[in-house]
């Protein structure tokens, strides 16, 4: 069958099945199991209302548990085992304790990935938030600010892979005697007169060139959120500062920034989460060569190139470990709001 038809059919079947599940289970509950009539009407209504939330929640809880909660525990288990293919073709898992972690810590590529991830964690959230704050502050004061905002926000819609192509064109290098078609080399050659560089192979700095791509994408996100926060600042505090003779820079850094500090922290952590999982950009631009490896790409390599599920799961656990503080903080915030 044609995939497009298959897709349409799935939408109809999938959505239809979902809706009929909810409808039929509610009908069953109200008509058959605990009908709201007869001698026990009152008790039945109460019982039905106790069960109904779980009917509504069941599909979501099932999918969440199966697709996100269960993998966490399964990954822990896999990271402690080795997959061995026996001579008769079956696969068994041997418990090896921390063997995979020890093997991983002996791999220089892992340390390179971890080190690079740390650099990404420092540079990308900081620059994105800074640029976003700057853009938010500047665009809030001008008439065509909304147009400017939506143009800066636009890279958000572009896939990491698309962005990788866009930026590869910028970093492109041609032989020294040919015309340079990459902007970076065109500028570099005309300014310094040196030979063009293969930028993505320059050690250490190439990681930063990859980070630029993510900063370019995430700045719009930071800008949108921070701009909403800036608008929420009470006018009186700013007016008071003006009356006291503060200049625009003092107003910005001493009055506005401290008031939106919680939002800045929130933007920072959100971008941190994106950075921890960054995969596509590195995969498409360098695939971890020339010292640009990051954890998510290292993991992908272990899983699908080296096919070592144990070490792959171990590196996934490292990512999980790095995410955990944010997870705990988020859950705490949510519980605090609930009270």
């Amino acid at each position: 069958m044609h995939p497009a038809l298959q897709g349409l059919l799935t939408i109809v079947i999938g959505v239809g099945a979902c809706l009929s599940y909810f409808w039929a289970s509610n009908q069953f509950l109200d008509r058959v199991l605990f009908p709201a009539k007869g001698p026990n009407a009152g008790r039945n209504i109460n019982r039905a209302n106790m069960i109904r939330p779980w009917l509504f929640l069941f599909p979501a809880l099932f999918a969440l548990s199966l697709y996100l909660a269960y993998p966490v525990f399964e990954t822990i288990r896999l990271s402690l085992t080795d997959r061995v293919t026996q001579p008769d073709g079956t696969t068994v898992y041997h418990f090896v304790g921390l063997g995979n972690y020890i093997q991983m810590s002996g791999d220089p590529k892992f340390w390179e990935a971890l080190w690079n991830n740390m650099l990404w964690l420092i540079v990308v959230p900081a620059l994105s938030t800074a640029f976003g704050l700057m853009a938010a502050q500047l665009t809030d004061r001008i008439t065509w600010g909304n147009v400017a905002k939506s143009l800066i926000f636009m890279p958000m819609a572009i896939s990491f892979v698309g962005a990788a192509v866009i930026w590869k064109l910028i970093y492109d290098a041609r032989p020294p005697d040919a015309a340079q078609i990459g902007v970076l080399n065109a500028v570099y050659v005309s300014l310094t007169g040196n030979d063009p560089q293969q930028w993505l192979t320059v050690p250490f700095w190439n990681s930063f060139l990859l980070m630029v791509v993510l900063v370019w994408i995430q700045t719009g996100f930071a800008m949108v959120i921070l701009s909403a926060a800036l608008r929420g600042i009470p006018e009186e505090t700013i007016e008071a500062a003006i009356v006291d003779g503060a200049n625009p820079f003092q107003i910005f850094f001493k009055i506005k920034v401290p008031q939106i500090m919680p939002t800045i922290m929130l933007v920072w952590t959100t971008i941190t989460l994106v950075v921890l999982k960054i995969f596509d950009i590195v995969f498409a631009m360098t695939n971890g060569q020339w010292g640009t490896q990051v954890l998510a790409n290292y993991m992908f390599n272990q899983l699908f190139v080296t096919r070592d599920w144990g070490v792959g799961s171990a590196s996934a656990m490292v990512i999980m470990l790095l995410v955990t503080p944010i997870l705990v903080w988020n859950v705490r915030q949510a519980r605090k709001e609930m009270r």
């Binding site: 909810f22 999918a63 064109l169 989460l273």
Partner: protein
Amino acid sequence: MDNIAGHKSSLTWAVHISVVLLVALWLFPTVGLFVSSFRTADQIASSGWWNAMFPTEQSLTLRTADPDAQVQQDGVYVIEGNLFAVEGRDPAPISTFGISSRDVSAFQPGDTAELRDGSALTLQANGDYRLVSAEEITGTRGSRVFVSAEIPPEFTLRNYDTVLGQDVVQRLLMFVGAGLVLWGVARFVLSSQPPVVAQALPVVAGLALMAALAVGFGLSSGAAEGAQTTDDMARAFLSTLTVTIPATIIPIVVAAFAAYALAWMDFPGRALLIAFVVGLLVVPLQLALIPLLKLHLSMGIGKGYLGVWLAHTGFGLPLAVYLLRNYMVGLPRDIIENARVDGATEFQIFTKIILPLSFPALASFAIFQFLWTWNDLLVAKVFLIDASGQTTVMTNQIVELLGTRGGNWEILATAAFVSIAVPLVVFFAMQRYLVRGLLAGSVK
């Protein structure tokens, strides 16, 4: 704030200029890709895209006409013609030419060059040549001539024909035109309907348009005959669409019911479940790859569309439940309690009151999920793409192009732009909802 006392006008100018610079900087990379997708391979290779509007000095390798064309005049063999006409190009002023690849600018226009087989080639600046030989010219193809010429700027849709199949862009524009007309008519006819219908209509029209496009591409993917598989983006476009639409709609339905239960139903353990959802919000999906692939393989789903739909549904649910619950909690309590008093069942309250009122939140999540599934590479690589090469998505296709045709910027730029175009349209059309969703999701 512009009229606050103490505000300096020089600062206003500085602000305007900085914003212009910032926007230019942010737009520049994308514009480069866009412009490059309309240039020919020769043009891209010979000048940066920022020079696309100016004529460029290009080195071309052209050939004289085949030896079949020779005529005997006054005892010598002669081939005459125009170099550009041989390849069907437009003539351009030639500045230098050569007959060996080692010295491509050895001669000036009007000079006569001696070829290796003893014949003599005279080339004029406009491309007219005269090849004279004392003996009969042999071989199957004409002689190579290396020419440097001022080529005027040239823009073409040929790259799109290569990437998507013949005339797909033209057909697509037709579809969009038809869709817009349909949309306008429907909007006009339904203008007296309640706002819910009027709001939902663009979405329905959009889906109808996408279905039409899908069918259109389905028909045309066969038309891209001769194009290499790696260039066959039309098929990848179609698969991306097939992945995206169910993967956007199914989580919305599932999450909406759960969000309603978490927002408006009282039951023990509710707070715990909300915390559970918030926790899952940040779990990296990298952890899920191997366990779920194992699970899919053991359940017999294997790698395929069903698996990728389920995976996207699972990974999208935490955000969906969280966003929708936050929105639904904010709905006025009176409406829901009045409905309960009037004897409406929970199911009726949900479908008749909550769902229509939650339209903005549903739209926000739909956009997020659409962008995320359309742009995804990792999930598709793990759960969809198998060794058979029958299924692929555009992001994967582009990565493969980067590997195999890294230097062919005309193909790469066009392929990338094709994959970016749809999210960009969605982004600009529904930015309002996207921003609202972002704010609801992160700032309380």
